[in-house]
């Protein structure tokens, strides 16, 4: 590569990267704005809108609802997704390809379509507007991430490992608890994080299914921005971003530790 083309590709790459992270640099500074309107860049720095956010019980309720929905959705999708991933390893490749397509379909089907379908199912069942109903909806979107992450972990296990445990007298449940589960922990951690993040910043399904009780943070932000265009929405977005990043890096670090502990060296 010549000097000139290297410079050009560096510039092009920088522009793409900037485009990817730009929203962060727009919204985060805006949250520290003193003025009553979102201005980019902010004119005077202040924590004024953080005070407003923290003192408003509506925002706290939304944050709490987000956490409850997120944790519930994570639990549901991790349990079902892990079971699905294990099941997929045991069928013939042909059937696996078909079933995997079905499991991954929520990623392909337009979310608006899923939302409408869920809305019509949840209403008569009385699940509309409940934490549980919303958690079920989010699990649907989170499931593919769990299945894929756990599946990768499962395939890295020597199949003879579980056979060895079985041969030593362990029941299937014990084999799962003492061999399979510890070995897929990195995948499980990654899958859980993705599941939680998916639920935590999900808007479309949430708007359809959220009532008063299950109003999550993104739904609240969306509502707030329509009535009052104050920087408090920027604050809420920043909080959302901070929690997501924290979780993401936390799991990355934990996952790497788990992987390095159980990785077989010197093969």
């Amino acid at each position: 590569m010549t000097e000139k083309s290297r410079v050009l590709s560096t510039i092009a790459g920088s522009i793409v990267l900037a485009f990817l992270v730009l929203p962060i640099f727009a919204v985060v500074p805006a949250s520290f704005n003193h003025a009553s309107f979102i201005r980019i860049p902010p004119e005077a720095m202040s924590l004024r809108w953080y005070e407003v956010f923290l003192n408003d019980s509506e925002w706290w309720k939304a944050l709490l609802a987000s956490f409850r929905v997120g944790l519930l959705a994570t639990t549901i999708s991790v349990v079902l997704g892990t079971a699905a991933a294990i099941g997929l390893e045991r069928v013939t490749p042909r059937i696996r390809a078909i079933l995997l397509g079905v499991v991954l379909s929520p990623l392909i089907v337009p979310v608006i379509m899923t939302s409408i379908a869920l809305y019509y199912i949840m209403r008569p069942l009385g699940l509309h507007g409940t934490i549980f109903g919303l958690a079920i909806g989010h699990s649907l979107l989170a499931l593919p991430f769990v299945v894929v992450n756990v599946g990768i972990s499962l395939r890295s296990i020597d199949p003879n490992c579980t056979r060895a445990a079985e041969g030593l007298g362990a029941s299937p449940l014990r084999v799962f608890r003492t061999v399979t589960l510890p070995l897929i922990l990195p995948g499980l951690a990654g899958g859980s994080a993705f599941a939680f993040i998916t639920s935590f910043d999900e808007v479309v399904v949430s708007i359809f299914l959220a009532g008063v009780q299950a109003k999550t943070l993104p739904v609240k932000i969306w509502e707030a921005i329509r009535v009052e265009f104050t920087p408090v929405t920027a604050v809420a977005s920043t909080v959302l971003l901070a929690i997501t990043l924290l979780l993401f890096f936390g799991v990355k670090v934990a996952g790497r530790r788990l992987a390095s502990e159980s990785a077989p060296h010197g093969r």
């Binding site: 020597d158 490992c161 056979r163 445990a165 041969g167 030593l168 007298g169 990785a263 077989p264």
Partner: protein, 368 residues
């Protein structure tokens, strides 16, 4: 669980994968405390047989007995077997101690007993003090010994080993072969061992079963198989062999003779079963049974092609008048023949063995 070694017997066990018949009816008895090796090329069904014994694969028909108990329908966890895998299959998230202790914990033994037995077993495989190490910190040979300890510590009725030395380098393999033999002599576990390495089989086994295409071609002591193979396949699979192909001209009980048309020569000697006059056969002459002489016109004419120095032995390659290669081995203090020299090859009649070419197609043949 009982701690006694038990005999293991397969009774007319079959297995197919789709249209492939992996095991034609196989019957095999491994006596209590015996070390039997299944030797064969890949795809011959030896690992399938082992997996059926372990309970990892269901057989299509036939029965499997451990001692007096029919275990055909019993899941792997209830068979009390110890299995050593080629990939070791150690638990990477557990320490050496916990790997070995696994089977004892499953059996609910008291803590003190577990600790004592694991320590004893690690000592036996010369890994004392390695208990707290992680699996990832061990070399291949050490991992192999942990796998061995893990399988033996539960005092299994039967010990099964699937090419456990396959991943080790040659030097280490020789060492571990002798190690496994020593442990077997000491503990007397009923052992079924699978390998495609003939040297491994010869060194360790009480008896060897040579497998091909889902059946056991011959089973016997290493000496039996080497000296009295039942067919040309077994002869060529075990040890070095010279095979001269021809037609049976005479066949009377334990002796037979064949005409090798290409060489216009008759070869006679003791014979295996399954020969018929006029049928195809081969004369087996082991390289160490051949002598060569330059100052005679008695014997098979041949020309020296190359002389390979093997340390204590010399391997000499000859070409016969038909163009076929013929090997001879002799001690290296013997006179080294010059290359391209014309010589005469000789052997004693009792060192020849006349064998049917192929057992697989000879089931219906008239035997003499």
């Amino acid at each position: 669980m009982d701690a006694e070694p038990r005999p293991l017997s397969f009774r007319k066990v079959t297995k197919s994968f789709g249209t492939v018949r992996a095991l034609k009816p196989v019957s095999l008895q491994v006596d209590s405390g015996e070390f039997v090796t299944l030797l064969g090329p890949s795809g011959s069904g030896k690992t399938t047989l082992l997996n059926i014994a372990a309970g990892f694969l269901p057989s299509d028909s036939g029965a499997l007995f451990i001692g007096d108990i029919n275990v055909t329908e019993l899941p792997a966890r209830k068979r009390n077997i110890g299995m050593v895998f080629q990939s070791y299959a150690l638990f990477p998230h557990l320490s050496v101690f916990e790997n070995v202790a696994y089977g004892l914990r499953v059996r609910g033994l008291p803590r003190a007993d577990i600790s004592r037995r694991v320590t004893e077993t690690l000592l036996m495989v010369q890994l004392d003090g390695y208990g707290p190490r992680r699996i990832g910190q061990l070399s291949g040979g050490q991992q192999q010994r942990v796998a061995l300890a893990r399988a033996m510590v539960i005092e299994p009725a039967v010990l099964l080993m699937d090419e456990p030395l396959g991943a080790l380098d040659r030097q280490l393999r020789k060492h571990v072969q002798l190690e496994i033999r020593r442990l077997h002599r000491k503990l007397g576990r009923t052992t079924l061992y699978v390998t495609h390495d003939q040297e491994e089989a010869l060194v360790m086994s009480d008896r060897i079963g040579v497998m091909r295409d889902g059946r056991i071609e011959q089973i016997g002591t290493p000496d039996d198989l080497y000296r009295r193979p039942v067919n040309a396949f077994v002869a060529s699979f075990l040890g070095e062999s010279n095979l001269l192909r021809g037609r049976v001209v005479q066949c009377g009980g334990t002796e037979a003779s064949i005409t090798v048309q290409e060489l216009s020569v008759d070869v006679a000697g003791p014979c295996a079963l399954g020969l018929s006059v006029g049928g195809e056969a081969a004369a087996l002459i082991r390289p160490e049974a051949v002598t060569f002489d330059v100052e005679t016109d008695v014997g098979l004419p041949a020309r020296v092609v190359e002389v390979v120095y093997l340390g204590e032995l010399l391997a000499v390659r000859f070409t016969l008048s038909s163009g076929q290669d013929f090997w001879c081995r002799c001690f290296s203090h013997a006179q080294v023949p010059a290359e391209n020299r014309e010589v005469r090859l000789r052997w004693r009649t009792e060192d020849v063995r006349i064998l049917p070419l192929d057992m697989a197609g000879s089931e219906g043949d008239v035997t003499c």
